[in-house]
Amino acid sequence: MKLDRRGRRSLKAGAFMAFSYVSTVLALVALVAILASLLVEGVGGLNLAVFTQSTPPPGGEGGLANAIVGSLMLCAAAMVAAVVVGVLAGTWLAEYSCDSWYARVVRFVNDVLLSAPSILIGLFIYEVVVRPMGGFSGYAGALALALIATPVVTRTTEDVLKLQSRALRESGVALGSPLWTTIQKILWRAAGGGIVTGGLLAFARISGETAPLLFTSLNNQFFSLDMGRPIANLPVVIFNFALSAYEDWRRLAWVGALLIAVAVLAINVLVRVLAREPRRS
């Protein structure tokens, strides 16, 4: 069959449309398949012991309590450091830098750090913290996570501060307050929602990070709150248990994966809900 020019065009357009539909369906199928296997494999193992008992020896009874607590401690410590440094650095970029060449360098470096391979961050912290201190520790793990979270906070802080209107700045200065008071009392408050969003995204990002923890905080089979020693954490436990030969360890790994995924997805949804609300300022 020979098509005229018009037929060829509409045929091509149809094929293009079909291709685009198929692509989207494929992406959605991947999402559904991953979530479905998490639910199928993870929900069965979910019980109270998961939250109250520590990781078991092979064949024994146990849960993930030490890993959950350890993960929360690592992420909390990392977020404190990341928010402090990130907000200050973002403030400098947005308010003080005047777009100098140095600001452009910092911005570029921040963008590179934003997508730098996390395993290299782990190697770096190993070299500068673990090796000199003579052992793996929770502090090293928290520091590695902080280094991954900080660029996210810096970036969002800079972006939301730049969104604030010039009038806001000028009204602060017109009241006779110095710039730093204006920033702290007016701009940070006005931009608060956006900064919180950035913090949450950073938290979601680091809560599943495994690679940088493998040789910084390592793992701990027992319940421990001591950040100066190796500390258990969900990602590394999942990694070790999933690759083990024991059926019950693998089941716990699925439960852990489900917990992390639910936490991360919940934060992402929360961020969208927060972002949707009109900003009160």
């Binding site: 091509k12 357009a13 293009f16 449309m17 291709f19 685009s20 539909y21 198929v22 692509s23 989207t24 494929l26 992406a27 959605l28 991947a30 999402l31 402090v84 440094v85 200050l88 403030t91 400098w92 308010e95 003080y96 830098s97 910092v106 911005r107 570029f108 470096v109 963008d111 750090l113 934003l114 997508s115 730098a116 391979p117 996390s118 395993i119 290299l120 190697l123 770096f124 190993y126 070299e127 500068v128 280094l147 900080t150 810096t154 110095p178 730093w180 599943g208 495994t210 690679a211 493998l214 040789f215 990602p235 990694f239 999933a242 790994a253 994966a257 992390i260 995924a261 991360v264 997805l265």
Partner: protein, 300 residues
Amino acid sequence: MDPIFRAVCFSAATALLCALAGVMVSLVIGGWPAFAKFGLGFFTSESWNPVTEVYGAAGPIAGTLITSFLSLLIALPIAFGVAVFLTEFCPRVLRRPIGIAVELLAGIPSIVYGMWGLFVFAPVFAKYVQLPMVLAAPPGSVWEKLVAGVPNGANILTASIILAIMILPYMAATLRELFLTVPAKVRESAYGIGATPLEVVGAVTLPYVKRSAIGAVMLGLGRALGETMAVTFVIGNAHGFPTSLFSSGSTIASTIANEFAEATSEMHSAALIALGLVLFLITFTVLALARALLGHRQAV
């Protein structure tokens, strides 16, 4: 007080700069013994043997480049299709939910992708794709060489596909953002003179965002190069140079993840850190190019 606050903010910004410089310096110092001992052989030799203390990184370096390239080859057309769907064809009601779903896919931690790849995807893939392909390959052909390997699902191609699923949402989201920057007036005038969607995308949208779109692709490539956990689960972790799509291999990141905590000798750690430096230089180049093409304002 103001100068003090300003100085504090300035030092926070400088700390970021120091962090990146620190990463590079520490990798150079830590990896130096390996470079000094093996010289260029570190890049060309494929024998990696902790027992005899001989380290050649050709296998992991090749594995990293091959898996990243293959994953890009798979993910790019699909990401493009998704972005086009969301900007051109999607019914208004579905636009937001599907957009969110794609972004959620980007939020799933990589270790979950790894586990899913190992326990769910790899067995299915080995049984329904790899085995038939191996059986169907005519003996003695190039095709047979390309698909040779143990059909256990842990190989270069599986790793590439898992990587592709991981970088797909990033690229789709960035491309969609880019497509939305095309002024509606321009697109609609193209439709107005009777262009089909394909012609609008090909003649108006793509040329408009060409530069940034290449940046978005490079950003995806950067992620694929450095991705650790998803790959470590499904690549099979063999050191040699990968010879076929279905041979086990390793990437730089997966080698470091597997061996670093257990490396006992100085030279073994040094060789792994030297690998890390190679990865750093590759990703830094790709990311720097991506940022230069994208400009600062685009996407996270």
